[in-house]
């Protein structure tokens, strides 16, 4: 069984169906963004609740729009 190409893995895992050249171009463009995101990855944020809120009662408070 042949090993999958790395770009094929990217395509499968991330659900991106782009020609290899285009995908490589995007990966290169993402490099600078990744540089910033790596800063986040170094942080221990274990006990900090993300600033997203699950509000299960919201639909029941919502009034129908006219």
């Amino acid at each position: 069984v042949s090993e999958p190409e790395p770009l094929d893995l990217v395509r499968d895992v991330l659900g991106i169906d782009l020609p290899p050249d285009h995908l490589a171009e995007n990966l290169a463009a993402f490099a600078r963004i990744l540089e910033e995101i790596r800063k986040l990855r170094t942080l221990d944020l274990t006990d900090i609740h993300p600033s997203i809120v699950f509000d299960p009662t919201a639909p029941y408070r919502r009034e129908p729009r006219a």
Binding site: L40, R41, D44, L45, P50
Partner: protein, 476 residues
Amino acid sequence: VSPALWAEPIEALAPRIRGKALSPVELTQACLDRIGQVDDRLLSFICLAPDALEQARGAEAEIARGDWRGPLHGIPLGIKDNYLTADMPTTAGTTAPGITFPRRDAAAVTRLRRAGAVLIGKTRTHEFAWGNVTPPVRNPWALDRVPSGSSGGSGAAVAAGLCAAAMGSDTGGSIRMPAAACGVVGLKATFGRVSREGIVPHSWSLDHAGPLTRTVGDAALMMGVLAGHDPADPTCRDEPVPDYTAALGAPIAGLRIGVCRNHFFEENQEDVQRAVEAAIADLAGQGATVVDFTIPNLAYGLAAIFAIELASSTAYHDVSLRAGRVRHYTPDVRQLVELGRFVTGPDYLKAEQPRAVLMEDFRRALDRRGRDRRADHPDHRVEGGRMDGPHRRPRRERARRLVALHVPVQSDRAARDLDPVRVRSAGSAHRATGRGPSVRRGDGAARRARLRAHPRVEGSGPRTVSPRPDRRERGR
């Protein structure tokens, strides 16, 4: 000499309209004439309301019989082209085939109409509000420059006097940056203050609605209409709306004004830096206490906004991405939409975590009780890769949501680069001094007719498919 009608702020126009000294029809016609004279070069409007004068006549009739609705009654306004409108098409700046938007009014548009405003047209946006250039709009201060964006059409239109104010939207600076580039006031209202219902989403938890105006007073008048709870926007807060005009003109002596020194100041041009420092000194000179502070955790802000904005935008555009429609997007927007796929789930959630920390940092910095403590108090440090401090404890208090207001300050750069399009604008710190080629006359009617007949960017075709019906059309 009185300024031209189209150069006056709402603060000056509204009392005259209320007192029947100024006709909304006359004012709207002045704006339409102005658009006809200069917008073939600015390109700030993508379409004009075919019934603008009819709206104005309706306002005039109501006011004549004593039914004055408030300070926006009869005032011509521009609406950014990512707000849905019933009487004008919405493009969100895209020419990609197969993408259409419902013909109905966004919540903010409904509020403005109820206030009696004359919605004169739609202003151009960077495609899907994903960019800071807003092609093909030009900056009225210098036509070879961009107006910034993504609310670049609104910034240019207000600066050039094509409408009294305009609506913008701001995810990562899209009201503030064009306001800065065009020398007008831009208000990114507090998250949850103005409903985003009916605004084409970009990043759900970062998108804000707000006005671009000539004066701070005008922004207050706009907010008096725009602010308020809307159950159709799940993030809209059900809180009392204050009188935003109450503090206008009040002395600032005794106010504590914080200056966050590790944000905004890093890469300013020298003249901008001088102007900002002069403005800060002026505030101190008027009796305010200026307190410099820093928020070290802002070092993670760019990473957080990258992860959140990219992932959210890609989620919104996912259907178009899978259908291949994004190949018709402009190359920069297409790439950004595709890049969001590389942001992993953990990265996204880790971006939402420092966001909570930053809100708490700013709350503490702005807390009067903390006047003797610096914001970079050890409580707030990130040490050894671990964010520490009071955020680690459960908090019952809701995190403060920050508002952002851009106001123009004098810059010697402006006078040098003035274009003849730029006109005297009451309330703006910029002053027009340049003279140049005379404005072409007589093409106003042709320009307006062209806009009405072809509201899309030239070259775009008709759109027939509606891939993203709004919530109401889905019956929810």
